[in-house]
């Protein structure tokens, strides 16, 4: 018998499934699992935060913040205290000892830290034109305390980081990031919107009208042409969306729109005294 060489069919060792189909299945499955874990953790932290007493929060805040950031600001503290006075007597927010601190920075932002410390960045303070705008911003931050957003964020960050580390042995797993970034941004934007509406209500109580509530966002909108796409993943909603929501809520609830009061001299003096040194330029 003569040997006849024959080409063997090499296909047995090559997978039949298309790699894109496999990728879709695996990535889809992983996304589903992560989404479920994310939702579960959101629910869990929401529940824990709801039952966590303010005293415990203050204790956590002190543990996290060894030193208070920035400098105390008497004029802002006065305005915050004024706002707190307008809260109902049984408001849980009355259990906090709120303090406002100013950090000299180019960021146009304010942050609510666990325990009752509100940090306002000096650039934001410089951008403000009226007392009403300032009160709206402080009331917005109080809104975060009312909904305990800062705690939810902190708790979820901790648990999710731990879970990610447990599964992947790495808390910065790049495969995980896209899902978390998108979900977190959506969640954060929803929180900001709720804090806006809560702040609006307090502003109405404080001044008897909601004039100046949207002025700051209006200027932000005019100053920078911020794309919708950029804001899909941002922590705050698009200024235009915020204005629309605030205006429609004010209209629905029948809040009057009154005249705004120009910003007090004490704030200007504070800025001149404490935050007058030039800061390095930044994107913000």
């Amino acid at each position: 018998m003569k040997f006849r060489p024959k080409q063997a069919n090499g296909d047995v060792n090559v997978p039949k499934t298309h790699p894109l189909v496999e990728m879709a299945w695996l990535a889809g499955g992983l996304a589903l699992i992560i989404a479920s874990i994310y939702l579960f953790l959101t629910f869990l932290t929401g529940w824990i935060v709801a039952v966590l007493p303010v005293e415990a929060e203050v204790w956590i805040g002190k543990k996290i913040l060894q030193n208070d950031p920035g400098m105390p600001c008497e004029p802002l503290q006065k305005r915050l205290n004024d706002l707190v006075d307008y809260l109902p007597q049984d408001s849980p927010l009355r259990k906090y000892q709120f303090s406002v601190r100013v950090v000299d920075s180019n960021l146009v932002n304010a942050v609510a830290l666990p325990g009752g410390t509100i940090v306002v960045f000096s650039k934001l303070l410089k951008e403000i034109n009226s007392e009403n705008e300032l009160s709206m911003i402080l009331a917005h931050e109080l809104g975060h305390y009312a909904h305990r957003d800062h705690l939810k964020r902190l708790g979820k960050g901790l648990i999710f980081g731990a879970a990610s580390w447990f599964i992947f042995r790495d808390s910065s797993q790049p495969l995980l990031m896209p899902f978390v970034v998108v979900m977190d941004a959506r969640y954060s934007q929803a929180q900001e919107e709720k804090a806006d509406l809560w702040g609006l209500e307090l502003l109405n109580k404080r001044y008897g009208h909601v004039g100046g509530a949207v002025d700051f966002f209006q200027r932000l909108l005019e100053k920078k042409d911020v794309g919708k796409l950029t804001h899909f993943l941002a922590s705050h909603p698009h200024p235009k969306k915020r204005i629309e929501k605030l205006v429609s809520t004010a209209r629905n609830k029948g809040y009057p729109i009154g005249k705004t009061e120009p910003i007090g001299e004490d704030i200007k003096e504070f800025l001149e005294k404490c935050c007058s040194k030039p800061l390095p330029k930044s994107e913000d």
Partner: protein, 157 residues
């Protein structure tokens, strides 16, 4: 737009690398398979077998022939394998690499044998080397390596 790209670089870079890895990897794989199939047909008359003892009525001399190959994984295949590592099962994305590496190593060995004028390669063995043992580990380059070697029998005239 540039702002958006810069802000979300952590998100966009992996997606970009996935697309690049898939496109470049698929093109390279398809071309490689075409070349492998063509050359396998070419060397069909030069068999490579694993037999150790070959009896021959003619006088032959033996010569060691070696073929080796290193094929890198691409970003897409790696991502697919990482996902596979979570769920378990066949790491299909690496299987085609192993197949390519093995066939390419044999072909290169056959090429060398053909140059020496051999009519058959006996006692063929395939081994893997270990440059790419770190495959799948973070910040390490993964690759598949195969070495095929055997004894080329050349008829003495």
């Amino acid at each position: 737009m540039s702002d958006f790209l810069l802000q979300n670089i952590n998100l966009i870079l992996p997606i970009f690398l996935l697309i690049l890895g898939y496109t470049a990897g698929s093109i390279a794989e398809r071309r490689h398979y075409r070349s492998i199939e063509r050359r396998e047909q070419e060397f069909l008359a030069l068999p490579a077998v694993t037999l150790r003892d070959v009896e021959s009525s003619e006088e032959v001399s033996g010569q060691l022939v070696i073929g080796n190959v290193v094929i890198s994984i691409d970003y897409f295949k790696r991502a697919l394998a990482i996902l596979r590592n979570i769920f378990g099962g066949r790491v299909a994305s690496y299987e085609s690499l192993v197949d390519r590496a093995r066939r390419e190593a044999i072909l290169r060995m056959k090429e060398e044998a053909a140059k020496a004028g051999a009519h058959i390669v006996v006692n063929m063995r395939i081994e893997t080397s270990s440059i790419g043992q770190s495959a799948n580990r973070k910040k390490q380059i993964g690759s598949v390596e195969a070495i095929a070697y055997g004894t080329a029998l050349i008829k003495q005239v």
